[in-house]
Amino acid sequence: MLTQILTAVLVLGCLGFIFGAILSFAAKKFEVHVDPKIEETLELLPGANCGGCGYPGCAGLAEAIVKHGEAVTACPVISAINRAKIEDLLGLNEKPEGEKKPVVKAALVKCNGLDTEEYQKFEYNGVKDCQAAVLLQSGPWKCPHRCMGFGSCEAACPFDAIKIGDHHLPIVDEDKCVACGKCVLACPKQLIEMVDKEQMVHVKCNSTEKGADTRKACKVGCIACGLCKRVCAYDAITIEDNLARIDYEKCVQCGACVAKCPQHTIIMEDKPEFKGRVAVIDKEACIGCTICYKVCKFEAVKGGTPKEKHEITPEKCVGCGMCAEKCPKKCIEMIEK
């Protein structure tokens, strides 16, 4: 009896031991060396596997970064801190001085339409989804470009950064937005664009209808009057297809167009009360060099003869800030009206 038990225990124990030994030997023999940097990089990546980089998930990108020298910026959503950490880890941050700082983007919704009854074509009681609503007469709003306001972008956002707020318009939380582009694809009206977070001046309209039609359908739509284009000292605004567009490469955010826009379509972010800026010359410091006089495109600077102290005509000044930038004595200040 005892021998039977003993044999059973011994046989099973030996089998287990042998298999264990084989496995531990095999683990050494067949060990696959994985670069620890890949794992560390993977931990620093967002881990949402959104596919924004074009690689199969974050693991794919981590391998590409470490092995094939892919840029960390291939990940559109990584935070600046983690990007710096990865670059530290791989010794990538010996960059030449004076390199342009990377552009951090966020979603911009190009509509500011009102939602009162007079701007509605009909009352929509269907499925609360933009894609569904757009199928019916291309939406319940008079303006064919108006934001549907049912939050398909909100549903698509994996980072909880875009929410439908008041007036059936989405509000973007720029701190949370990582510019992954999911909302851009979700919007049936193509209203969302990824724009540099630093940019504050935006055309909040996407209507390509004729000015008169836009005016009928919306109180704050771009009617392509061209005032913004004329007032821009930096040639940053163009009018295409009855719609003003800002070239963010050229825009210096002076706000001249914001102050001029009769429809209040162009806005200064976070400053709903913005009325434009005006240049003020510090008479004490001015040496009358005439540089400001020469650069002003709006004839707002008085005094063309040398040594004569300059003066600004506030009625003519659009607040473009060109003179303040060029003044060698830095005695011109831009103040908000």
């Binding site: 046989v11 089998l15 287990g16 496995l23 095999a26 067949f30």
Partner: protein
Amino acid sequence: MTGGLISIFIVAVFIENFVLNQILGICPFIGVSNKLDSAVGMGFAVTFVMVMAGVVTWGIQTFILVPLGLEYLQTISFILVIASLVQFVEMVVRKTAPALYQALGVFLPLITTNCAVLGAALLNIKKGYGLVEAAVNSLGAGIGFFFALILMAGIRERLDTAEVPSAMKGAPITFVTAGLLATAFMGFSGLV
């Protein structure tokens, strides 16, 4: 001899199909049959492990358990064998064939406790097969599993686009499908 082997194979694949006739290995059959790609991977992995396990367990039974009169240790020692074999195979494949590992990798650990593998090993012994017969029977069982899994995955991919009543969506319609498949396989009985 060859005729006997062929009939063992046919019996294992169709008549005594492990999934649809003996109702073994239902967990991966339901779990991994969502997509055809993963079903193919899983099917290959199971077939591979079944043949290996069938051969090794036959050796353990014939050379260790029977001489020592310890046949009652069959189940536990077979589980031990299968588990370590799967681990071992995973390591070897990972080292020697990374592409194959990518394809099979995720499925291998799943097979460790798959009852179809253990079932095949135990049935080999129960039927008193020799080494070659055991290997063929295991191969047949594996192919049968592969076959059932692929059939199921093909049907389920079509089910995804079909209009299924909401109460039947997901698991219920899958079980009904599996039942109908099993009924269909009953038609093979009496083939050999």
